[in-house]
């Protein structure tokens, strides 16, 4: 069923949108939040589990100190105040992918509160989003519903549960209501999530991969009649798995809600799911009453009381943050405002900077990200940062070209291999034998073979027709898949013929 939609301009004539964004980020700590299990993505189901993260009777949580420090660093980078005392709470509800049937989370005592994030928009203007809180919690396991359509629970014959993700540390960053965004609301939503992603990446606390679920956004949207100051009823759209989807989901909800309100209907407070393919949202299960999670302080953990000294020490570890990096890139790389904005809009600036940090010259780094890799994002429909290649890997490819081990053409093949998840650049080179062949033994054998296969041409060369050598060189290049150093092959051909 397709919902009626109001024209976007009409929505803006009649209503003011109010947004609220909740972003969950999986921390890339070595171990889980409350146990020693490895925190790694993509391992076989139920191989990263122990009594604690399986919620076995008797098992107890022990807080991961690195996760707490990550939470505090995130809070500091978002200009939040760090609570002098905070603790965990239990959020009680039944769901099979949650081993204890409660989630250990923070409720009314989060570790970081009252911050802000300045968000740069495509026209160069800056919008400041107020942050309400950042708090720590554990992730749930994953359910795989089998037998129904699209992996949805409806119609499934059975479900499989994977608890590898259960207990992975999460930080939830919640904005205050974003008002006054007007027509730019969808763009602000996207820009905010982008800025947050860049910030978290700079902090090195998370992979921030929306495609892998290590960063997930829930978008709350409501409309109020223009001029009113009373918020309308909001919906919460989940399953928004890319930056582009954040923008589309907000825009869609604005148009859908506008149509409902204009026809005299009322908005139902509900969870909605974003459909990536159609760009639409659909109602989730409707709650008759608001869910009562029966929060209470987690008795198995002790409160956290960060000292001033601890907070100051962590503040000192904050790296160059994205906006600081931008300012520096502009001066050091000599970029114009427009060039800088293009790089920022393409999501390339931080990647280029990180590639430079990994040892590559700025010009080459910039060239790779804005040309070849940008083309790959278009064909794959993902963001630059979501490509499965890291700045360090790009820097390595650049270094291999500089050493003469790869030609530009081979370098692109190596990058393709990395993007196909075949491994590190050097592994791809080895696996496919992509390195430029300048090994004389290998080349000599190839040249001898080519000369033996074409004795007439060999005779012509001996007879002084040096131009005929080109045919042998061509044969060798073909035999080596184009990886031979052609100049060296020619030298070898002449040497062998005259021997």
């Amino acid at each position: 069923m397709t919902a009626a939609l109001m024209d976007y301009d009409e929505v803006l004539e009649r209503f003011d949108p109010v947004l609220g964004l909740e972003v969950h980020v999986e921390l890339s700590t070595a171990t889980k939040m409350f146990c020693g299990c490895a925190n790694v993505f993509g391992t076989p189901p139920n191989t990263q589990v122990c009594p604690t993260c399986l919620g076995l009777p008797g098992a107890l949580p022990v807080l991961n100190g690195v996760a707490v420090e990550s939470a505090m660093r995130i809070g500091l980078a978002l200009n939040c105040s760090i609570a002098p005392w905070c603790r965990f709470a239990r959020k009680n509800y039944f769901y099979p992918d949650m081993p204890k049937n409660f989630q250990t989370s923070q409720y009314d005592e989060p570790i970081a509160v009252n911050g802000s994030l300045a968000v740069e928009l495509s026209d160069g203007s800056v919008f400041t989003v107020a942050i309400e809180r950042a708090h720590m919690e554990e992730d749930t396991g994953k359910s795989l519903h089998v037998g129904g359509a699209d992996g949805r629970i409806h119609g499934a014959s059975h479900s499989l549960l994977d608890y590898n993700r259960a207990g992975v540390p999460l930080i939830e960053v919640v904005t205050k209501p974003i008002e006054g965004a007007g027509a730019r609301a969808p763009e602000i939503a996207r820009a905010y999530v982008t800025a947050l992603r860049d910030l978290l990446r700079a902090l090195g606390v998370s992979d921030v991969r929306m495609d892998q679920g290590s960063m997930r956004c829930d978008a709350n949207v409501s409309l109020m009649p223009r001029g009113s100051s009373t918020f309308g009823t909001r919906t919460e759209t989940k399953n928004v798995n890319s930056l582009r989807s954040v923008e589309r989901a907000v825009r869609y909800e604005m148009c859908r809600q506008g149509a409902v309100l204009a026809s005299g209907g009322r908005i139902v407070q509900e969870t909605r799911h974003f459909d990536e393919a159609g760009g639409t949202t659909s109602a989730g299960r409707r709650k008759e009453t608001s869910e009562d999670y029966r929060y209470f302080p987690e008795p198995d953990l002790v409160p956290i009381a960060p000292s001033d000294a601890w907070v100051q020490r962590l503040r000192a570890t904050l790296p160059e943050l994205p906006w600081q990096r931008r300012a520096r890139a502009k001066t050091e790389w000599g970029l114009s405002d427009l060039e800088l904005r293009d790089l920022v809009n393409a999501g390339a600036l931080d990647l280029i900077a990180a590639t430079v940090d990994a040892g590559a010259p700025a010009a080459e780094a910039r060239s790779w990200w804005v040309s070849y890799l940008s083309q790959q994002t278009n064909s794959r429909g993902v963001e630059l940062a979501d490509l499965p290649i890291t700045p360090a890997q790009v820097a390595r490819v650049i270094a291999l070209v500089a050493e003469g081990a790869l030609t530009n053409n081979l370098a692109r093949q190596v990058v393709d291999g990395v993007l196909a998840k075949e491994g590190e650049p050097d592994e791809v080179v080895a696996a496919h034998g992509l390195a430029v062949v300048s090994d004389d033994a290998a080349l000599t054998a190839a040249v001898e073979q080519a000369l033996a296969a074409a004795p007439d041409i060999a005779d012509k060369i001996r007879g002084g027709k040096l131009a005929a050598a080109g045919a042998i060189v061509g044969a060798v290049m073909k035999a080596t898949g184009g990886q031979a150093n052609a100049q060296r092959v020619r030298e070898l051909v002449l040497a062998l013929v005259s021997a």
Binding site: L56, P57, F94, P99, K100, N101, F102, D292, R294, P299
Partner: protein
Amino acid sequence: MTRLTRWSAAELAARIHAQDITAVEVTRAHLDRITAVDPALHAFLHLDAPAALAAAAAVDDGLRRGDPPASPLAGVPLAIKDVFTTIDMPTTCGSRTLQGWRPPYDATVTRKLRAAGVVIVGKTNMDEFAMGSSTENSAYGPTRNPWDLDRVPGGSGGGSAAAVAAFEVPLAVGTDTGGSIRQPSAVTGTVGVKPTYGGVSRYGLVAFSSSLDQGGPVARTVLDAALLHEVIGGYDPLDSTSIDAPVPPVVQAARAGAAGDLTGIRVGVVSQFGGDGYQPGVLNAFEVAVSRLRELGAQVVEVSCPSFDHALPAYYLIAPSECSSNLARFDGMRYGLRVGDDGNRSAEEVMALTREAGFGPEVKRRIMLGTYALSAGYYDAYYGQAQKVRTLIIRDFAAAFERVDVLVSPTTPTTAFRIGERVDDPLAMYLSDLCTIPANLAGNAALSVPAGLSDDDGLPVGLQVMAPALADDRAYRVAAAYEVARDGAEGGPLAQRVPDLEVVGR
């Protein structure tokens, strides 16, 4: 009955370590005793004789090689309440929902016992998930009191207390959330200790109420309890609420107390615990006990702790609240009982049917109480208010311990009641823990030591001794002194006067 089972753990250990007797002989004697009397008592849910004999043989082998004993209790048999996980034995918590569940890991207490060379013979019966005061809430049938088989052995740790009282084992481990070690000890004539909260690791202790649960020793003498306390106590990095401090010197305190001198010790009698609702024979025995403390040189004063009057209602909000959350995991999805999984029902329906079939009435009652108390709109009035009472109780204890070194009271208002007498009256059942609950809410140390027999029904009475947090040794010292005085005045240890069950059983 073989003489070996009559000895204390300390005596057995000394003889085993001197190689006068073997740990295997000692273990076999206790296993024989269990075979003879447990059909009448039903203290055990699971026995593992081969494993126990193998563990005992390993201790003997080490001693023969000249290795020093792994601990002062190496070679001594012991039973574990079926609420601690054991990798080689089922762990049921007295519940249908965990019938046959074999944990893939040992509790820290279990691990420490094994490392100490203590011989684990089996798992003892208990009220389901430690909720109850009579062991009648076990899904596997009640345990009987060795002093009178028609009566309850208290609860929830009735199995551990009965096993020790009936000479099936010299030692057992229990857990105490509102009195589940001390109250069974009181009504079976044994020594039961609730250490300071955080003194014994809760890792692998299946939680009833996390902020109150505490493992501790059950024994027939104060010294034996102290020896076991030092084996199972101590900091555990796997339990965030564990105290990172040395175990209080309880063995030294028990030995010092046995010299029988309490000169200079200030003892406070809690004025709230007495009067209406207390059995006259219990109050009489308590009076006699207090006068013995005075004779030992203690200065006895009366101390009022007014907020203790609110301890019981506060407990019945906090413990069920935590239990409603702790027991949510028993949903049939990952382990234990699963009901209704016929291929047509949803996971939610299977969860509901499993929980309906897997839990007994008392557990359901407390889950419902706790769910209600934590609900939006009621939280402040119930859970929040109860936490405030908890703070007041902590303050009452603090004020009292400025004036006195220990507080004393009867452990429980009555002696053992008859099986079935209170099953339909939860409130009457809850009153069994009236005197023991404050120490759980405040987290300080408390124990129960036998205080003779009640003069109205001839059943055991317990003297409760409460000490400040981390001053467990103080309670041991007073209890050990009292024990010597009482045994001297009444012609030997009370525990030795338990009826001969092998005759009764036939």
